[in-house]
Symmetry: C2
Subunit: 322 residues, 2 copies
């Protein structure tokens, strides 16, 4: 007669079987033979040992947290993939640089894994530069790299759009095409006029054919390259923020709900539209650094991205507030 369920000897049997199975790596049949039980009985007792928490199986690596965040982002928002970087939660410019690098590495890894071909559209900014610098030789077989949106010509900080395009192209053997125009101009009319310029138009048309887009998620800080380009004065910047702009995607500012924050300003913005962006099969948005939570959530809601790369605190903000 075997010890009854719930008796002290019963737990001991579960413990013994668990140790034989998980520690000694005996088969259930061997254990059964040794203890005079059928292999079925052993299997069922092992199942009970698991149920009753006599055996604990856990994923203990620190990265487990991050993978968990990724899975929750994918599950909650129906994304294609999510990458959450392991970044100590510090603040300051140095910490932001670290976060950018870590997130950029993940983004570059994912691109290499997916090996997107054809035309790839890219935006610019510090984050995109970090990604460009992490790309390994031969990461893709793409044929052409194209700039998705205008670059500030008068920014105090160089936008480095040239280096970004050049690196994306040189590491992959693709050619590249820049967009020789400001991000945001003074009026919708001027924007429309520029968009009709043949060189600009050709680039935008090429960008429309891209099946992959990679872009950073920006915040409306006073030193944002978009806002500092000279066509958006301080009053307009203040108005933008007061309208609840969470940040920008390829130069276009979104509110927390994922809608364009200020349509009139959007009409003065040069580059692919958000609707066009949202139609790409692979569109990766990258958010690194403090305060990126709102724009990340807005971009997710707008569905302008289906792959997000961000740091831990951004991921947590999004999951908390989304």
């Amino acid at each position: 007669m075997v010890a009854k369920r719930g008796s002290p000897g019963d737990v001991r049997l579960l413990v013994r079987i668990s140790q034989l199975y998980y520690r000694m790596h005996l088969s259930q049949a061997q254990i059964g033979e040794q203890l005079g039980l059928s292999r079925f009985a052993v299997g069922r007792l092992l199942e009970r040992a698991l149920e009753e928490n006599i055996v604990r199986i856990e994923v203990v690596h620190p990265a487990a947290r991050l993978v968990d965040l990724e899975d929750r982002l994918v599950g909650r928002f129906g994304l294609d993939a999510a990458l959450v970087a392991d970044v100590p939660a510090a603040s300051g410019d140095a910490a932001d640089d670290l976060a950018r690098d870590a997130v950029a590495e993940l983004a570059a890894d994912l691109l290499a894994q997916r090996r997107p071909g054809g035309v790839i559209g890219v935006s610019w900014g510090r984050t995109m530069l970090a990604v460009a610098r992490k790309l390994a030789q031969g990461w893709t077989s793409a044929t052409e790299i194209v700039q998705l949106n205008g670059a500030a010509s008068r920014s105090d900080q160089p936008t480095r759009v040239g280096e970004i395009l050049e690196r994306f192209a040189s590491t992959s053997g693709a050619s590249f095409r820049g967009l020789a125009a400001p991000a945001i101009v003074g009026s919708a009319a001027l924007r429309d006029a520029l968009m009709r310029d043949p060189a600009i138009r050709e680039t935008i048309d090429l960008a429309r054919t891209a099946t992959t887009a990679v872009f950073g998620l920006g915040i409306p800080a006073p030193d944002s390259p978009h806002l500092a380009s000279g066509f958006v004065d301080e009053a307009e910047q203040a108005r933008l923020r007061s309208m609840g702009a969470a940040g920008d995607v390829i130069g276009r500012f979104l509110g927390a709900d994922g809608q364009v924050a200020w349509p009139e300003l959007d009409a003065r913005t040069i580059g692919l539209s958000l609707a066009e962006l949202a139609s790409k099969p692979l569109r990766m948005g990258i958010a690194a650094g403090a305060g990126r939570g709102p724009i990340a959530l807005a971009a997710i809601r707008a569905r302008v991205l289906n792959v997000i790369a961000c740091d831990e605190s951004t991921a947590e903000w999004v999951l908390t507030h989304g």
Copy 2:
């Protein structure tokens, strides 16, 4: 291209696969499908996750310690079984009572599990009384219960040998037979004379046919019922201890090496010999309470037991000193 071994993305893959496998309970094939890997690759990565301690599987129940001690006792000394009771390591008479009860319960459980038949030999003492009181109705189909060694007639503490035999018998439907003689007498000649007495001889002969023996392991304390029976005076008791007697098994005192400590005294002892005891297929020795380590080890070395039941501190002592 999959992330290279050692790269950060590699660990993340291991973590993700581990979570899908151990937490979500997907099959390796499903995981492979989902991540674009063969099921073999998934299996190998899971193996690596285990090797690299990304996944930890442990038996967490408090009883695991005890089961571990049991396994080590069985393995180290080639026993048939070992039972280690979960007893808080306290000292004092109350603690000893608790330990005795806990060990007795395990011993009774094991007996019920083995269901020994035929003739069962038993010794007496506080430990055996505790075992007798734990026996459940119908624990065995044995036909006869027989006393293995003489009982002190003049002990200050009643030996309760009657109750022990009666309980062993009444819970199993067996009849019982006592041994109406002292444990130790004054001379070998007197011992031999008693052993020739028909009633005593019959009981001993019956005990020789027993295939199962259950007995306590005693220590040579001044209040030991064996020593207090009147035939061993204080000088002899002191001599016994000075000869290094670790304790007794069915009234026969053993040295630390498992040899009979004092052959002349042994020749004055009534009951089964240790060699006869050691030939039984199932012979369970029970040691509960402080200071039982040495006699437990001695009994193991003498092979007079092949099943031991003891408390945690005794088990640890034996493993440390054996």
